[in-house]
Point group: C2
Chain length 336, copies 2
DNA sequence: CGATCTAATTTGAACGATCAAACTCTGGGA
DNA sequence: TCCCAGAGTTTGATCGTTCAAATTAGATCG
């Protein structure tokens, strides 16, 4: 076990005061260059690294971002979030920020967790996801003044010009637009859409991209829109039934789960090569050789960190300035 | 923004000293019951929660476990590790421990990260995974005295009776044994195995379970063993080729990726219902309706936390006592 | 040459908790 | 009556850092 090296050890050895060592590390511009070099040499030599508890206590900031790791739901949806968290960790590390995990099962549970983490000075900000209309969480965070960014826009309000809070999201409509365009060009005019029942912001957004593209090109009567709650089995069943009625050239889906279900249905009916595009680009569709819209969670994470940190790179409570409180990431169509 | 409530505020209001408040929270048994109740009432009333930076500074422990979140964790596929991390977070929270993430791309990178985290007092222990023979990481951790548990046994040494360090793992042989038994009973005597080239501890362990079960039952000449590096496409190709030569009744695979490849190959050859069992029970095989051996990451996580914490529930450097330094989790066969 | 200003560095005081030791109080026994 | 033990509580020091104010060194100028 190595003895702990403190700032005093460095100061003594370098023949300067504590504060000068501190300045070398935190505000190099106020220190004479020759002093800086001398101190840095001792820092490296002794392998000094500031005790973050002491620093946090004094500065009253933890430089830590809290992230909830969702319970494994079973199904595909997790992959995007996992990549997002991973990218967030990498990006945060580059800015000398840390990422702390916490677990919660319900929104109320999550709020209780924040309360502890905030009071204890464990986090300076949190990243939340899966917000929904009337979500109690955003109100709590705003009221208590805990900085945060949400992955997913605050549906319902005017997200762009009068944003309730900072947010990052993927442009779902752009994704399905690219998918639909691609299918119209390569498969034929009858491109259907398989999504969820109306009402979910994400689903409606994705459907819009398809609808607009179909509308531009042709009449679109021959392009059916199907909806199913979620789940591979449900999608498979529905598509098996509907394919008997409608003849289509290709299908755009609101998620990879739906795409897998549709693909299995098509294969059952002897059409394994029916062009189908999913959404999320999970390993499942990669395995099956289906095209998909990739969310690029790495870009989302980078944007989230940028939003939550101020110009100095530190976390700060930033107001949701109209037009500058969000980032909308362009997804990418992966063709297979 | 709420004003911070300190231990002094509570003390003043309750008419006791700082230390008594501290004792109420950390060592209730030394405080008179009536005092305890009075103080607790004030604590709740003011919503006091100790500042963890101050506590950490004084006690010299962070009560935090470091976990590397990496998209490409060698050995353990994504979903298993994600579920593991999630379960770890839940379990840690119940013990009032925190989980801190860090990112690293190489073993050296990871060691550098540990050095910072350890020096800065950010973590008291780490959980590592994907260890391999001659892994530089375990040596570093032991030398520097940073407590750790590995998910994956230290292959090569006598893991059980002379363990190099604490570890948790899943009994791979038991998993393939269950799978093989099941297939022998339901499909027929010719149960093959698709694994990786010899030499990987995990792979050899899984193969052993199949081989022992096959050996017990029948001669086993009609049970071929195939190997491929990894990857769905490679597996698909190999199985397509081999199925033309060998007639088999069912196939046990060392991973879900291999199982998916084998399934696609079988389907190509008009045998979509060839019984195949994978390993890891990822969403992919769930979607395809294949059976798989489930690792039960939640149990692994619970065992890891138990190993790393002492009787008091706090993290402590624990020696790897022969016979008591590990936990071997029984996997579960999911039949579909 | 002394006054003035700026740059560079040092000093003393926090930050909020726990540790270790000292103190107070109560009841029992000689 | 006096002393002692032990439970319960308080006091002062300390963890390692950064903040804010004070000090010193060095340069500029009339």
């Amino acid at each position: 076990m190595t003895e702990a090296v403190t700032i005093d050890d460095v100061a003594r050895r370098a023949g300067v005061s504590r504060q000068t060592v501190s300045n070398v590390l935190n505000a190099p511009q106020v220190v004479r260059e020759s002093t800086r070099q001398r101190v840095m040499q001792v820092v490296e030599q002794l392998g000094y690294s500031p005790n973050s508890s002491a620093r946090r206590l004094r500065t009253r900031r933890s430089s830590t971002i809290g992230v909830r790791l969702d319970a494994y739901a079973g199904g595909i949806s997790g992959v995007v979030l996992d990549r997002f968290v991973h990218a967030l960790t990498e990006r945060a590390g580059a800015r000398r920020l840390r990422v702390l995990l916490y677990a919660a099962r319900t929104p109320e549970d999550e709020i209780a967790r924040w309360d502890e983490l905030m009071r204890g000075g464990d986090v300076d900000a949190v990243v939340i996801s899966g917000t929904f209309h009337g979500d109690p969480r955003t109100g709590w965070l705003l009221e208590r003044g805990l900085p945060f960014v949400s992955f997913g826009r605050p549906w319902g309000a005017d997200d762009i010009d009068d944003p309730a809070h900072l947010w990052v999201d993927v442009d779902g409509a752009a994704g399905t637009r690219a998918a639909t365009t691609h299918l119209l060009e390569t498969a034929g005019p009858r491109v259907g859409f398989l999504g969820w029942p109306k009402g979910s912001g994400t689903g409606d957004d994705r459907e819009r991209g398809w609808r607009e593209t179909i509308g531009e090109r042709a009449g679109g009567e021959s392009a059916p829109r199907w909806a199913v709650r979620e789940g591979i089995a449900e999608a498979r069943e529905l598509v098996t039934r509907e394919l008997a009625r409608h003849e289509i050239d290709a299908l755009v889906c609101a998620s990879d789960s739906l795409a897998v279900g549709a693909h299995l249905a098509a294969a059952d009916l002897g059409r394994p090569h029916l062009p189908i595009v999913g959404f999320d680009n999970t390993p499942v569709v990669e395995a099956l050789g289906l095209s998909s819209v990739e969310q690029r969670p790495e870009h989302v994470a980078a944007a989230a960190i940028d939003l939550i940190t101020g110009p100095g790179g530190a976390i700060e409570a930033r107001a949701a300035t109209p037009g500058a409180a969000h980032a909308l990431i362009m997804p990418r169509l992966i063709v297979r």
